[in-house]
Symmetry: C2
Subunit: 348 residues, 2 copies
């Protein structure tokens, strides 16, 4: 620990241009062949909706579809040996999380496909291409509901992201051993989009849709990150039937009853946390206690006979990983850890 | 015309299940090889933002990035011969427009790539993975702005979409010769997401970003549809330098000055309209007068020496196309028309 603090005290100050250019790097990994690709939706419910303000006063009332989940996929050639992986992004982000990194390197989506594994990217319900239910906003505009009925929209600032995502101890200081490509932080900020999850019913339709997707795929591994990091477990508690594995990356773990722990213990589970958990202000997220809470969860599932593994990266000698570890400079090294775990615990 | 009316009077009533299942069709076109793929953002501006409500009262103010445009691309092997195509979706939709059709067939994005052309799918600024500026919604919730400051959000109902997209003369009656796969209309409704363009400044940042993208690509063809159908022209008026062609599908054409017409006449242009333009109620969009307005535009550009072509599909013997013609059953036949036009007018 003494070395860690020494590293931390020597922080680099990184100048962030207000406007950045297109990614300069291109790893040119050679052609990619897929057996198939495409997109579709899972779930969705029809509800009556008043005419939108823009449709004009004479427009008839009608129906809209809400709570659907957009899924984009690529299936490599000879993918049959491996369970597909469903990747779900975190707060204030979209499936862009898993694609080309902010500094232009290959993301986990393509890397997993190149390693022979089908990948399904899901935009959370109420985000990005999944859309959201705008009814309450239009009702407030029309004077039919009070402003207090509007959702608490999460729109994280650059400054909040810097420390919550653990790029450094305070904005704009970076950890000297930090793995996040902070020179491209402006490109990350462009993927940070408003989070409307406050609009969602309970249970979150993303959980239900993830369980349904795993079943539709006749078996899949569910992976979540941060806000969605425990969604795989929530999906498994709704319907474990298609779920062959749970991968949870840097997330708060919910309190589970003994019977819930017992249900989760039937599914192989990997949990991963990065570095500097105690080295950022604990204001919005206290990563140290969040990790400790998840470690308790891991112990409980293990005690219930579960095949569950906690990968705390610095304890494995892998230093400097941020919260956005799928975009960190060593992102493919971490992907290899996950792929090896999948080979051993899911595809065995 | 007599035959057309006869066809119209014999309409099929289509039962629409409230909840549809996953697409049943899969065309299995064989493996696809791409030289590269990925995603990035074009544009974006940094603005100060108050802490979001969810961040808590003690959160510091900070900056957010707005007006960026998310772009997802695939470049086929040996794409050098052909200008890349940038596809931009219409109102209440996302780039899903161009992907797998509602009934599970190949979309134009993949078909163009298979035909050797790089494709860039852009989510409009304020939509889908491009995100939107939520500041005013949070300000209204916080009591700092009146409800009237909220945007007019367009959330088209199933019923409105049915006639505006020209699936039939009235919901849920379908045109007997209609090309849209109405049995999968529920899957289309899932791609219809709230349109927040009312939040955007003028000029629309999507226009500016489309022009910038064409330049960044060192030459590209811009394609728009419906709400975005005239965006290629708007982009060209901002900066024509990267723009090698304009493709406009079923859109309102803006009034142009003589000097604007002259500027647009320097770029090869294709305009495409489908069938049944006068056979749906003209309430929200009057397709007949919209077509006529665009036909006037085409004549003006032609008179100014432009290489511009209007493809009115029924006048070419291609019947029954809806407004969502990139998803119609004959979508690849229409793609072939566009690809042949590109070969002849852009890549010549």
């Amino acid at each position: 620990m003494r070395n860690r603090h020494a590293v931390l005290s020597v922080v680099a100050i990184v100048a962030i241009a207000a406007q950045s250019t297109a990614p300069a790097r291109d790893d040119k990994p050679g052609p990619l062949t897929v057996a198939s690709q495409g997109s579709f939706f899972v779930g969705g419910e029809v509800k009556p909706a008043p005419p939108s303000a823009a449709a004009g006063p004479n427009a008839p009332a009608g129906d809209i579809t809400v709570n659907q989940m957009y899924v984009q996929y690529q299936v490599p050639v000879n993918a049959e040996r491996h369970a597909p992986v469903v990747m779900v992004h975190g707060c204030c982000l979209s499936s862009k999380t898993w694609e080309t990194t902010p500094d232009g390197r290959m993301g986990w989506n393509e890397y997993f496909v190149r390693k022979g594994r089908a990948v399904y990217l899901a935009d959370q319900v109420s985000r990005a291409r999944s859309g959201f239910d705008a009814s309450i906003i239009s009702a407030v505009k029309a004077g039919k509901s009070p402003p207090s009925a509007l959702p608490n929209i999460i729109a994280a600032s650059h400054q909040v992201a810097w420390t919550v995502f653990r790029f450094g101890p305070s904005y704009p200081k970076a950890f000297e051993d930090g793995q996040f490509p902070v020179e491209a932080a402006n490109e990350l900020y462009k993927q940070m989009i408003p989070d409307l999850n406050a609009l969602l019913p309970n249970p979150n339709p993303t959980w239900t849709n993830m369980a349904a997707l795993a079943k539709q795929l006749k078996g899949a591994v569910l992976m979540g990150h941060s806000e969605s990091g425990f969604f795989p477990q929530q999906a498994a508690l709704i319907d474990p039937n298609g779920i062959r594995g749970l991968i949870s990356i840097e997330m708060p773990c919910a309190d589970m009853t003994a019977s819930q722990v017992s249900a989760l213990a039937r599914i192989p589970t990997l949990v991963m946390f990065g570095d500097h958990l105690g080295d950022v202000p604990p204001g919005i997220v206290n990563w140290k206690t969040t990790y400790e809470g998840c470690n308790e969860h891991v112990k409980k599932v293990k005690a219930a006979g579960g095949d569950i593994e906690m990968m705390l990266l610095p304890s494995m000698g892998i230093r400097g990983n941020s919260h956005m570890l799928m975009q960190d400079k060593n992102n493919l090294q971490l992907a290899d850890l996950i792929l090896a775990w999948l080979d051993k615990h899911v595809d065995k």
